[in-house]
Symmetry: D3
Subunit: 243 residues, 6 copies
């Protein structure tokens, strides 16, 4: 039985047991932990900066507690590179995973994220991951992260409006939910699209997909390259209670 740990890189409880239970199966137990220092939500580079030290700490703790793999639960993939330098188990980013999965399933994907302020993050990640010319569009619904869970109907309606444009105007043939706070909405979105006559367009819900990718890595015995993510040399670091 593998242990997959979802590290939520904000101080808000996002992943209830019902979500992680749905991701668990006969081979793997999935659980979540929230960081204790950092922002209550991530909507830009500055928020990410405050989230990463706590995320590194949580990843170290997760490995110590016996996790077999980690998924960082934010579409900015904050701390994935840094955490990989200090743990040996796989650390998976949902954004990177979702982009590669989307490129595997279609030709050009659209991302629907929450706020305009996050668009440059996706632009940068798409360049970093080599997926820039697969991005049909990157759209936003103008709802802050912490309001996403408040009103499922509002969220579905907003996602649907942008998704239709992504498919019909920007010719996206796969859609990615651009914020991990949008979990559980993919089904309603697919139904909404079908009502508009749009079928056969996969909607990638990034965290569950990243969890599956993490399970697969554990099963085949792979982790990140230590040539690409070398352990840091020992050094004095001021102002942080290190793990």
């Amino acid at each position: 039985m593998y242990e997959i740990k979802i590290v939520v890189p904000i101080t808000t409880e996002l992943r209830l047991e019902e979500h992680t239970d749905a991701m668990s199966d006969a081979t793997a137990n999935v659980s979540a932990m929230t960081i204790t220092t950092g922002p209550e939500s991530i909507e830009g580079s500055c928020d990410e900066a405050y989230a990463v030290p706590g995320t590194i700490k949580a990843c170290i703790e997760a490995e110590r507690q016996g996790a077999d793999a980690i998924v960082i639960d934010c579409m900015g993939d904050p701390g994935v590179d840094a955490a990989r330098e200090v743990v040996s188990i796989p650390v998976v980013g949902p954004s990177r995973t979702a982009m590669y999965v989307a490129a595997s399933l279609g030709h050009n994907f659209g991302v629907i994220t929450m706020l305009e302020s996050a668009l440059p993050l996706f632009d940068d990640m798409a360049r970093l991951y080599g997926m820039h010319d697969r991005v049909a569009c990157c759209r936003h619904i103008d709802i802050p992260v912490l309001e996403l869970a408040d009103d499922a109907e509002r969220l579905t309606k907003a996602l649907l409006a942008e998704s239709v444009l992504a498919v019909e105007e920007d010719r996206a043939d796969v859609l990615i939910l651009g914020c991990t706070g949008m979990f559980g909405i993919a089904g309603a979105l697919r139904e909404g699209l079908a009502d508009r006559g749009i079928t056969g367009v996969p909607v990638v819900d990034p965290t569950p997909m990243a969890v599956e990718f993490a399970k697969g890595l554990v099963k085949v015995g792979l982790t990140h390259s230590r040539k690409a993510y070398a352990p840091p040399r020992e050094k004095v670091i001021c102002g942080y209670e290190l793990a």
Copy 2:
């Protein structure tokens, strides 16, 4: 319990039950089938051309028999695009999967394949999948596909020699076994690399990884985009016994 079907797109029995058993687990049963029309091995574009019609037929049969997902067991990904047009379940190519996994785990990957004649296929696939500038190198060991299983020591030695060059000269930080006929050798290769002082370089064995990706897709309920892979219009096709 999911059913994952490995379609071996050549007429040679490649996947014994012991291999597929190793890929099965508590959530998924993995089995293989071999095509009946086509070449005995695939080492170039012409071989691929003869393999694809039989592969399409096998994929249709696998879906009819209740498979939840298909992995096509060849690093040329032959027939993946065509089969996706005619089945609804996910059809996964090991080359595409291995490249994205390698890009997820490191910065620049090296592929070690069997023959020089296959190098242009990898060049083309890397362009198609958007991974061209992640390829540190594409090397070959000069052993034909059907001889790969004959002499594990020869295979390991040849792979090791090229892998060392891939890491040390071409700066690959992840390695991909460039032929699905090289299964089961990743462990020995990793040990050989360690003996040479090279550690921390993941070696991706593509088919088991593709099988895990297929399981993950089934678990989260995703398949390929029908916008990207539209079902063919009905038409007369001469000379083939269609499935």
Copy 3:
């Protein structure tokens, strides 16, 4: 006197003598042959898969009959790579040729093809040929291949509508007819564009252009690289009556 053979990779007679006569001149005789196994038309990857074995066979026969070069008469360039492995004479693909010619004559080209299902093929080919960032747009007219010849007026009107959008909205400065079944329509399209005030936009009719490229290769004594397209190693191939 060179012999240029047009291989039509479908089982429908597409190239009447009047077309090939118009492509012949004092240096080269142009003739066509149709394959005997395969689909009646090509509109996607699956159709292509069934077309390629017969196309390989036809290319081998054409070389045996003394052809100096071959043009494969379909905008998916089906079988070009495979056929190059088994014949020594140049095998020319109209799509590759048209894209390079368009890039030679302007900055950004638009492709107008028949069906939406073919758009991903062009996306893939543009990536393979290195022309992806020259594609101003890829549009379709929603007329199946086998109906293209039925109603020249309908075809012209549909092409004109998309061409105007390609030039005015997508800023294409060269147009490519995206299906070889659209032959003979370029003049009417240019006239229609002129009526709309659009002049100076070249319209590439791919097969005649590919025939000229084939003639040129023969004249200067060039053929494809055998390093890039190595002859296949001898092997057992089941289920095909090989040439």
Copy 4:
């Protein structure tokens, strides 16, 4: 009978009648003209700058004299863009043509030019023409343009040495003669390569290939896009005796 005019953009007579006769055939007469103001050879950007005004003038004259197409006889493609603005007949650059032909015949090409000072020009052209990631290498033989014709043996030997490295070390599968002053040497180079055991690598001699491309454009009735190369607005130009 088409008239193809080779415009030699230097003040040195480069193209004797024997060369142009070899390029003529039953459909096209090929002749050459040399510019009267400009450098005696082109080996860098500054030389090109002095060559272009005279080249524009020659192109205008060629069109007035009834030429059906123009080939500019220098691998820097000097003046192609400018001349296209002022003439209606096709103006073909041998470098652009050779790169696209090489990309049509193989996967990665090597250019062997005369001097190190010309390498950045090829780097720039490869970027402009979209062929940058097809360049296996760009090598030079360290012989100035005007000495190329002096000693065929020296030239062949130098080209052979670099060509072997291009194929064996840089994995070029097509070679391009990187200076139009290297005409007539492709055969000897191919023989030399064969003596070294290297066969099946096409050697593109750019000017004859560009002449064939020009003939093909005339035959199918294509010329450059006027959207991409708009005629200049009338204006005062000081210091030039315009055509």
Copy 5:
């Protein structure tokens, strides 16, 4: 005190003393010189061709007169490469500089130039400078160069209209004035954008920025690479009174 020389590559007086005075400061004196042979304005490749020989001459003179760096005052960067071969002091192109500055300050820039005929020049430069996928759009205002200074209100209004579209439709987050003849208008444009509710979008006025870059290069002691811009070998050049 450094001497920065602006070389205006047209025969029209463009840079009055008031402009250069505004660019001077306590460390550097900025002055301008106009070429004596060439076109009265540059709006395409042909105009550029006539401008370059005079520009090279002016650069040589500027260096002889003791300039520490040169800025060529045209958004086509005409003669930058050629002049670098013959002078040792830095030669700065405003277009290259503006694109890199825009990429430094944002993610995707829009260029607003004067005429449609100039758009392909920007397309080419963006490719050459590696900035092609940063270009959100390239728009034009349909006012010839020599009319830009005639009517500041007309110019502002036209720039504003295109700038709003660049930001709102094409998602440019930085704007570049696409003609050096648009100097002095950035402030009014920024105000106009603010009136439309668009704030925080930098407007790069290329020549003043290029002058600052030139000052910086002089301060740190850098100039262009002589490996990239080798001095031309001595040779006969007909028809030019060389500097």
Copy 6:
């Protein structure tokens, strides 16, 4: 008189007054400040993560104290994006600046950094800044950051050895010092290169160049785009003493 503030994103005093004095001039005063929480040196992603929160704080303080522009003194450009979200004055990264300056002065640049562990950071930055295909090589000298200042001779010798390889084997025509801790060594390196017969290859010392770029931005009144770097929405951030 402008105030340019160098923010040193480590807790080690790196910039003595003599360095900043050398960067000051009649238009701008340059001074440095060191962060108080973070690592003593930056050699990987994890070090960066601990450096960024302190860097953001320092940037806010610098702006409050009246700075006109900020240069972050580390070749990883840590915190540039985050700081731009919270200050209005320009925040300049030396790596981004050095890459664009190198691309402005030559065709292909080489980076010589301190440790192998930093190479992936440069790979990522080159992708982010669009300069990936300008990188001739990225080499390292295997000396940790905090030892760089210990032994100038050792540093020069190590840099020289890699620089010669960068120029002669990798064909770099511009060199970038790949760690801001290498300041003051460019002159000795250039002399060493000249002794080896390598002249005309610019060596970019990133921080002084970035300071000049910052001065230029202030002079022309430009700062980063607020569309690209939106101010963060107000939110609770735990565990940090915010500025």
